[in-house]
Amino acid sequence: MQPTSLDTGAAQGERTGPPAPVGPPPRRSSGRAWEWSLAALLLAPNLVLLVVFTYRPLVDNIRLSFTDWNISAPVANPVGVANYVEWFGRADTRTVLGNTLIFTVATVGISMALGLGLAMLLDQRLRGRNLVRSAVFAPFVISGAAIGVAFQFVFDPSFGLVRDLLARIGVESPDFYQRSGWALFMVTFTYIWKNLGYTFVIYLAALQGRRADLDEAAEIDGASPWAHFRRVLLPQLRPTTFFLSITVLLSSVQVFDIINVMTRGGPVGNGTTTLVYQVYQETFVNQRAGYGATVATVMFLLLLIVTIVQVRVMDRGQRA
């Protein structure tokens, strides 16, 4: 074996300090620096955009929530926590929170359940399934405003499609635009119709990537369809379900276009007003941008809490 330079130096007694780094370490150090530089270079454009267009407005919004800013005014005066005190004390807060909760739970739950059902159906070898898949996905790429306009006619109590269908079975159409409960049902149904394509396509992708050997094993073991679904399929779809529950929740809470086009938050003022619509109304209709920022901040915190809880629950489930 050839002696290394260190061996040689020690043998000759020429070294008094720590041994000089030799061999691979210097290359690893410069290599790591290069990797860091490259990573920073590649990440920088996105990070800059994220900071400028997402986190800076976020911080600015929180700052504005402590002011009385009228959106047209050149100055905003600090008011401490007065906006927060007002929001928690106002009579309409409970209605708005209730609307948001009903709308979100219904859209998340129903669109995911229907999306999974459709994905399982269209994962089968059926004639024309590609056409049906496209048809199910299409509403997702249509603008919410356009869908809102179209569904205004569908639910019109005078000459809408729903009225016509109900009349065929002898049932009178409810007045979807004047009754708060029915109005909330109408916008919820419309959003589910639009969003179904998204949950469907994600579930379909997950189904197509599942392990075929587990299906075969279940079949050989004679598992019933329900046992197969519950014990084989659902566990494999758990990460997808988790992903969808978060993304659909976030998008549902932020729905604005359909509500604005179909009901403008009414009837009776708050019939379909959700948190995000309240932000719009306070900021642009009532001109109270400071108070609107407060509602936005509350919404952000609520979303953050819900998401953290979801992550915890999922984490516990995985460990179990």
């Binding site: 407005p57 504005l64 009228n70 047209s72 050149p74 005078s158 004047q178 009776v268 001109q287 936005a296």
Partner: protein, 431 residues
């Protein structure tokens, strides 16, 4: 998908949640505007093209550029309605490039004027030698604040009483509108019989679609009002009486509230409606029966409405002068005739109705003449609706509650308190 970790999800959630908040974060921060660096020879005109007027607006712009070859006008799509134009302008105030001329509605102009974001036009108009006396007084004076005028009337409208002449005949009624709401009540049974079951004698827009504008006529008709100057008067006996009258009409199945009453009316599902003069063109085109128009019930109880054109405060003096030149051209006698004949809005100049093309147009279109004849009987709207921030939406919500059977006195008392609070918090200190 299987490799998504807890950290990954937290990151995702944080980012998405932040994106959500960003989406809600308004349009920017206060007061960094400064008017932008627009060219003084280019006039940027922000419009929502009221009454589908984009073509006719461009036509007027072409005529202006022909008369003023050194100036260019750029027509900007600033939204699909007045509120969206106001939102875009608010965004510009927070730092973007400002327009030279902007469409402001009866509801949106005041907040800008109050916060000193619009130029008072009086001196600029005087310098340009504009005879403001030719503007219809009621329309011009709608934009008065602090002894100044902050806009010129442009796409101005009033509500009209539209009725189905066939159903009127079937009900055995004279070919005219009701003298007042009590007379309409007397007619309502006959109209219900004529229009048939599942249909309505009267349809009105609901509280989310400007019922608060139309109901002003009813409130005035019964001696009430939304406010006297800045003092809310919803609890006054006259206003409460009008609220109860509206509620009785709803309870007895005479009236139906709807987002688009003009569609039902055109389809023959309602015997009459209250709608803007700006809807005249569409209704005349869509209806399969002979449409009649009349003054709103009552005497001198018709609110004005619609929009004007204004000039931002923080652009340069040179740009302001050019902007006023264009705003005056846009609303001169000839162009207000061109604009109103294309859209159904009302001429904003007194001399316009004497122009030969307008005289012959009105002879051929008697329904358009109703709106002009009603003009001297109009009245500026109450502050509680048009000058208090969120006034229209607030009153609309209360009227929805009334229509659905809630106690009128209690709803209006709450409205009084809420309106007073908005005035105290947002207006009082700035007057």
């Amino acid at each position: 998908m299987n490799q998504l970790t807890r950290r990954g999800f937290l990151g995702l959630a944080g980012t998405a949640g932040a994106a959500g908040l960003t989406a809600c974060a308004g349009t920017g921060s206060p007061g960094t505007g400064g008017g932008g660096s627009g060219s003084s020879n280019t006039i940027e005109f922000w419009s929502n093209h009221p009454g589908n007027s984009k073509t006719v607006e461009q036509q007027i712009i072409t005529a202006f550029q022909k008369e003023n070859p050194d100036l260019t006008v750029k027509l900007v799509d600033a939204g699909k309605n007045y509120e969206e134009v106001a939102q875009k302008f608010n965004a510009a105030l927070a730092g973007g490039q400002q327009p030279d001329v902007i469409v402001v509605s009866d509801v949106t102009w005041f907040n800008f004027a109050l916060n000193k974001q619009l130029t008072p036009l009086d001196e600029l108009l005087a310098s340009a030698g504009v005879d403001t006396g030719d503007y219809v007084d009621a329309l011009y004076n709608d934009y008065t604040f602090d002894d100044g005028h902050f806009a010129l009337p442009y796409s101005r409208s009033t509500p009209l009483f539209y009725y189905n002449k066939d159903l009127w005949q079937k009900a055995g009624l004279e070919d005219r509108g009701p003298k007042d709401w009590d007379e309409f009540k007397e007619w309502s049974e006959a109209l219900k019989g004529a229009v048939g079951s599942d249909r309505f004698a009267l349809e009105l827009a609901d509280g989310s679609n400007y019922l608060d504008w139309y109901f002003q006529n009813m409130a005035w008709g019964y001696g009430g009002a939304y406010s006297q100057e800045w003092t809310p008067t919803f609890s006054d006996p006259g206003t409460v009486k009008a609220g109860r009258f509206l509620q009785d009409l709803a309870k007895s199945g005479v009236v139906k509230f709807n987002a688009t009453p003009e569609a039902d009316f055109s389809a023959g599902l309602a015997a009459c409606i209250l709608q803007s003069t700006g809807s005249l063109g569409g209704i005349s085109k869509d209806a399969t029966f002979e449409v009649g128009t009349a003054f709103l019930p009552g005497t001198d109880n018709c609110p004005t409405g619609g929009a004007g054109v204004a000039v931002p405060a923080s652009i340069s003096d040179e740009r302001k002068a050019n902007a006023v030149k264009f705003a005056e051209f846009l609303t001169n006698a000839q162009n207000t005739v061109t604009f109103t004949q294309a859209t159904g809005y009302m001429p904003v100049r007194k001399s316009a109705v004497e122009l030969p093309e307008e005289v012959s147009y009105l002879e051929e279109n008697p329904n358009a003449k109703t709106a002009i004849d009603q003009l001297p009987h109009t009245r500026s709207q109450d502050n509680a609706r048009v000058l208090l921030p969120g006034g229209g939406a607030r009153i609309g919500k209360a009227l929805d509650q009334v229509a659905q059977g809630q106690d009128v006195a209690a709803v209006f008392a709450a409205l009084d308190a809420e309106s007073q609070q908005v005035f105290d918090n947002q207006i009082k200190s700035k007057l």
